[in-house]
Amino acid sequence: MSSTSTTDVVGSAPSGDPVGRSLTTPRPRYGERVVLGLLWLCAGVSVVTTIGIILVVFVEAFALFGIPGVSVVEFFTDTAWRPFTGPESEQFRLGVLPLLNSTLLITAIALGIAVPLGLATAIYLSEFARPRVRRTVKPFLELLAGVPTVVLGYFALTFMTPVLRSVFGADVVPIFNAASAGIVVGILIVPTIASISEDAMSAVPRALREGAYGLGAARQQVALKIVFPAALSGIVAAIILGFGRAVGETLIVSLAAGNLPPPDVPTADPFQQVQTMTAYIVQAVGGESSRGSVTYQSIFAVGALLFVLTFLVNLIALRIVRRFREEY
């Protein structure tokens, strides 16, 4: 999107200006500069926020590694997470892999549910549904995005877990398991993926569709082969937002997936108790640890890792999006 200067255009207009202004000398628009400056500031706020998060989280995180008995290498390679005792104790283990594994497991399950359902919903609403249906379903979806996650957490525990236990057997599925939490997190992010993807698809110019219909294409061909690829950048953005939300989900996992990290890492078993990075943070923040202790600093270390994780995924996704983006 180019922001070309309009002075040339104004200067070369042939007809007379009714107000009597000279057409060849552009008047400097100071007000505009102020407004532009304000807009720039707005964007700058986001920079300030990032700096704030980075400062806070990483400073405290690095303080963790300054504590004797805690090693960076161990943090990233050890396979057990027992931070509540302190380096003096022999039970103390500070390997973040179990938490990371748990987070990725839950997110994978959640996306596995949300991406198909969300995209199906988006494509249906955008290409197949009658306008009235679209007008009622879309607000409903947006409403669902507001269901408090604590409610969904209890839903996972009291509805989803018994269902899974009866389907797969109560000896296979423990009461706290990653699958229930993952599925419900998936349902939670369906509105996000669906709504933003649908907006992206709606934005694809009519001309493209009409061209295809004019050539005799059926609706699903238009939907899947024309609109979907055209809206890909928006769809990927939606999925990334969904991913971020799944990774950051706290209450559902802390209620339904349990609060102990899995013992054998790496693992892909959905039918075991897990503790995600976020569940750990909320557990430790609300618990009895005091500032300056290993436990307290570890909260920020885990927070820093969360930040880095989402940052990396976003970078990769942006690369992908940029490669496939189409401009109309």
């Binding site: 964007a43 359902l117 199906a120 604590v150 409610v151 609300g286 969360l306």
Partner: protein, 302 residues
């Protein structure tokens, strides 16, 4: 008002001819599959909402809205949560809209295409995905301690604003990007400055989608428990919050719901919590309806 190029063929009808049979079957099949996909998630959440409605409707009454919280389920209310949530909502909306739309406008329409801009963009996209609890930690360290705002309403509002701002910017940018190029080009060709074009053509055309992004974001902000829990929302406080009393402590409906489901009494876990959830959802419904009205009013030509 802008002449917006409609992108949706549905309203006008595009299929006035008979398609080959094989195509029709495949089309119907795809339609059914997609419909099922749409219905699954909606159905699950609808069941959940109905369940909550049935459990909670008995607890709803004027008293429930005007009483403060009590340890007796019969006479408890969520007045402090309601005033807290409303105050937070007003503050967050007031801060998010100008900042979010402003930033999106800058990035989409005016920013030079250089490294700094790309850095800024990457920043914002990344922030949108950062877990909400990290914002809680941010709120605690920066707003509560470093800036000294303490555990007050403004801290909560700032924390939630920081949380939803990136999402609003991302969604607004998508909305602005979706406005067809012809509109901008037409405006520029008629002699308007880029700012005039942006303010009077592009932005109004994008407002409906921007509203969608704002709704989703505010909905999320209102339902968030973890960030404000970490950043200093109180567990209980029997006083009303107003948006202009920035330094007072506060609580919010999600915090109260969280409290209710953890209480040992069955009535609190089921009836009272459900009633509180209904109130929250009704609040969302009102917000969403307002935004839909706005969206429909502006998107007449879509």
């Amino acid at each position: 008002m802008a002449v917006s190029t409609p992108a949706r063929p549905r309203e006008q009808g595009t299929r006035g001819f008979r398609a080959p049979v094989g195509d029709t079957v495949r089309e119907k099949f795809t339609q059914v599959v997609l419909l099922l996909g749409t219905l699954v998630a909606i159905a699950v959440l609808a069941i959940l909402l109905i369940d909550i409605a049935l459990d909670g409707v008995g607890g709803l009454s004027l008293d429930f809205l005007t009483n403060y919280t009590s340890r007796f389920p019969e006479r408890t209310g969520i007045r402090e949560g309601i005033t807290g949530t409303l105050s937070l909502m007003v503050l967050v909306a007031l801060m998010t809209f100008p900042l979010g739309v402003g930033a999106a406008l800058y990035l989409e329409e005016f920013a030079p295409r250089n490294r700094w801009t790309r850095l800024l963009e990457t920043n914002i996209n990344n922030l949108a995905g950062v877990p909400s609890i990290v914002y809680g930690l941010l709120g605690l360290s920066v707003f509560v301690f470093f800036l000294g705002f303490g555990r007050s309403l403004i801290t909560g509002a700032l924390t939630l604003t920081a949380l939803v701002l990136p999402v609003v910017i991302v969604a607004s940018r998508e909305a602005l990007r979706a406005v067809p190029r012809e509109i901008r080009d037409g405006g520029l060709a008629l002699g308007a400055t880029p700012l005039q074009v942006a303010a009077r053509q592009t932005l109004p055309a994008a407002i409906p989608s921007i509203m969608t992004g704002m709704i989703l974001s505010l909905s999320r902000a209102i339902g968030e428990t973890a960030p404000i829990l970490v950043a200093g929302a109180a567990f209980s406080r029997r006083a009303d919050n107003e948006p202009w009393n920035l330094t007072e402590g506060y609580t919010a409906i999600p915090i109260q719901i969280f409290d209710f489901v953890k209480r040992p009494q069955q009535e609190f876990q089921v009836e009272v919590a459900s009633a509180a959830i209904i109130v929250l959802m009704v609040l969302l419904l009102i917000m969403n309806s307002a935004a839909i009205v706005i969206r429909n009013r502006y998107s007449r030509n879509r």
